[in-house]
């Protein structure tokens, strides 16, 4: 009876006029307090690579928490870790795909950065405050979104085509499915906590 994951998938294919469209929908997680923090993304597209953004993406350490808790980026993106608190923080990861980096500790208002070259799910921890935790999810495409507390997400401007779409969440089993995008597309996923 206890399947590791159950899901329902609803696809609504709109009139194929546009060459690209938003993938909009919900990831409903049963067994968790809320539906936030799921990363919904389009997996690797054969023959296509995407350059990382020229500007660094910032993850803040404020009020003894990492903000945001889950940060998806394109592989190759430089992430800057800012300390906004009135005392020092640290950032390190035990994950190999991010080179198990430890950026040391630094005071208020300062930043240190790390470039996530490979696709990777890296957990970020603070040695000074063991309760602090965040995730950088480095992805192969720029087509990703993070769910809000209601589970809602929008992946903007996905070109029409056939893709593998995946869902990653720190506490949910991984999910993937092929998806044909042709204009605005909706997607609903229900996942059960492990």
């Amino acid at each position: 009876m206890r399947k590791s994951a159950t899901f329902t998938l609803i696809l609504v294919l709109a009139v194929p006029v546009a060459l690209a469209g938003n993938i909009q929908g919900k990831v409903i997680s049963s067994g968790l307090r809320h539906n936030a923090d799921a990363v919904v993304y389009v997996d690797e597209i054969p023959g296509k690579t995407f350059p990382p953004p020229a500007e660094a993406v910032v993850m803040d350490q404020v009020d003894m928490s990492f903000v945001p808790h889950v940060l998806p980026v394109i592989a190759g993106t430089k992430v800057e870790f800012l300390n906004s608190d009135s005392f020092m923080h640290n950032v390190f990861t035990p994950d190999k795909c991010a080179g198990k980096f430890n950026l040391g500790s630094w005071p208020q208002g300062q930043k240190r950065d790390f470039t996530f070259e490979k696709t990777c799910v890296a957990v970020l921890l603070c040695n000074v405050h063991p309760e602090m935790e965040a995730f950088v999810v480095a992805l192969p495409t720029p087509y990703f979104a993070v769910t809000d507390r209601d589970g809602g997400f929008t992946i903007a401007d996905v070109p029409d085509g056939d893709y593998t779409i995946r869902v990653w969440h720190p506490k949910l089993p991984e999910w993937s499915q092929s998806l044909s995008v042709s204009g605005p597309t909706s997607l609903e996923v229900t996942l059960k906590a492990k």
Binding site: M64, F92, Q108, Q110, N127, H129
Partner: protein, 498 residues
């Protein structure tokens, strides 16, 4: 003839034998100053403030000194804010309204419990014969239970209290006792919001020493060379007029806990000072203080490097992410003056089978000391030295009123001096959850002005703490009298705080 004066007092005063210190540590209230209520308030780990609870890291020391507030604390850091007793704007209306306060959403209670298996051996000399008392695998479950309450009551006010539950065995009966170990109210930065001046009122651990913190130590064994020396008691005696500084016993050495008023502060971020007034020796027959004289003390300490004691450089200080580490050294001096006028300690001496009763008064005594605390990599080395002077006045037993001090004995009376010191090295052993401690402590017990050395006390302690969880630990500890290897204690312990 020079008389033997002095011993290391035990927590429970009854029937102490000379130099029976090693066996006593377990009977002493082991302070439990870990405050999980703050882990709840800030939703943070114990490790934010503790190296291994109850031992604080330097951030935790600043948090404590700031009246249990984070350096540069913001509203957002407090995940479970206090309930305001009046809107903040009422401060503008004062004195036409009561100044608003604050209370925690839930009573900020925490429970600390310890369990110990004791193995010990103790040499006692009775009627010239040597007896060896051994204890094997005595499961003292629990060895300590304490309810700790601590918090903030709006701006500038904080409090700390501890209600301890203790068990001891007395003549084949398990005695259970509940007592208020500490309770105080603190006015933090009452003047111009400056850390230079703060006030603590209550029954508290005085801010007398800087280099070590007996209430937040890593070891089971206390710093008896600092807190357990009694120049008066010579063992096996009943004490009239009180049992030292603290209601629960303790020597007339340094006060581990006292009833009084403590003024303290941090000047220029790195110089800490304190001055206080305590009841001193007590209790009396019907009063908490045994006489009307008060004890007074002052201290000063300076810290080089690391986090400033007031946490003022926390926002610009990039220490080590290993939050027990920093490069710093603190050096402090302290001076304590006690007034024991009109307090007569009754002592019995066995002089060749004849019991001789005398009375000892310690009208004026001083304790002068210095301490240091050095952090380097995974090491924290600290220690203290104390020199004690006691102007002891010895009286014969009264002939007219037995049990009252009689004729003053000028030959035996005089200034007695003791010197004690200890050094402890604490180390994080490779992993942040494994902590070791090694301590050496020694006391040169009182000697008369003729310079005759009575006896020295030496003890070594070896301790290991493993944090099984952030708030659960196991402890293994061995402590031995270096002059009498048959006096030792070995503890296996476990503790939890929540």
């Amino acid at each position: 003839m020079s008389r033997t004066i002095g011993s290391l007092s035990r927590c429970s005063m009854a029937g102490a034998a000379l130099f029976s210190l090693a066996a006593l540590a377990i009977l002493c209230a082991t302070p439990a100053n870990a405050i999980p209520a703050f882990a709840r308030k800030y939703e943070t780990s114990c490790q934010t403030c503790h190296v291994a609870y109850p031992k604080l890291n330097t951030f935790g020391q600043a948090f404590r000194l700031l009246g249990y507030r984070m350096p540069g604390e913001t509203e957002g850091q407090v995940k479970r804010p206090d309930v305001a007793l009046g809107a903040a704007s009422y401060k503008r209306v004062w004195p036409d309204a009561v100044w608003p306060g604050a209370i925690p959403q839930n009573l900020p209670l925490s429970l600390v419990a310890n369990f110990q298996v004791q193995n010990s051996s103790q040499i006692e000399i009775e009627d010239g014969e040597v007896h060896r008392d051994t204890v094997n695998n005595d499961m003292i479950f629990p060895s300590e239970v304490a309810l700790v309450v601590a918090g903030t009551a709006g701006e500038h006010v904080s409090y700390f209290g501890e209600i301890g539950f203790e068990q001891s065995v007395e003549a084949g009966m398990i005695e259970q006792e509940v007592g208020v170990e500490h309770i105080d109210i603190r006015f933090i930065r009452p003047i111009r919001n400056s850390m230079a001046f703060n006030v603590k009122i209550g029954s508290f651990q005085p801010e007398l020493v800087s280099g070590f913190d007996h209430a937040r130590r890593l070891t089971v064994a206390n710093y008896d060379s600092m807190f357990g020396v009694s120049p008066i008691q010579s063992g096996g005696t009943e004490i009239v007029g009180g049992g030292g500084h603290h209601g629960g016993g303790g020597g007339i050495s340094l006060p581990a806990v006292g009833r009084g008023i403590d003024l303290y502060g941090v000047v220029s971020h790195r110089f800490t000072w304190a001055a206080g007034i305590l009841n001193g020796i007590g209790p009396g027959d019907a009063t908490f203080d045994a006489n009307s004289g008060k004890d007074t003390y002052v201290k000063g300490a300076y810290k080089w490097g690391g986090l400033a004691p007031d946490g003022s450089n926390a926002a610009v200080y990039a220490g080590s992410p290993k939050n027990w580490r920093e490069k710093s050294v603190q050096v402090g001096v302290f001076y304590y003056r006690g007034d024991g006028k009109d307090i007569f300690f009754r002592e019995e001496h066995d002089e060749l089978g004849v019991i001789e009763v005398i009375f000892v008064e310690d009208p004026d005594y001083t304790r002068t000391g210095l301490d240091f605390n050095w952090y380097f990599k995974d090491l924290n080395i600290f220690g203290a030295y104390v020199s004690g002077d006691d102007d002891l006045r010895i009286y014969a037993d009264s002939v007219t009123e037995p049990g009252e001090p009689g004729v003053f004995d000028p030959d035996e009376s005089g200034t007695y001096t003791y010197k004690s010191w200890f050094v402890e090295a604490d180390m994080v052993l490779g992993m942040p959850w494994l902590h070791g401690a090694v301590r050496y402590e020694t006391v040169d017990l009182p000697r008369a002005e003729d310079g005759l050395k009575v006896q020295a006390y030496e003890r070594a302690t070896l301790s290991m703490t493993a944090l099984v969880r952030a708030n659960v630990k196991g402890v293994m500890e061995y402590t031995e009298d270096l002059n009498e290897s048959r006096n030792y204690q070995f503890w296996l312990g476990a503790g939890i705080a929540f």
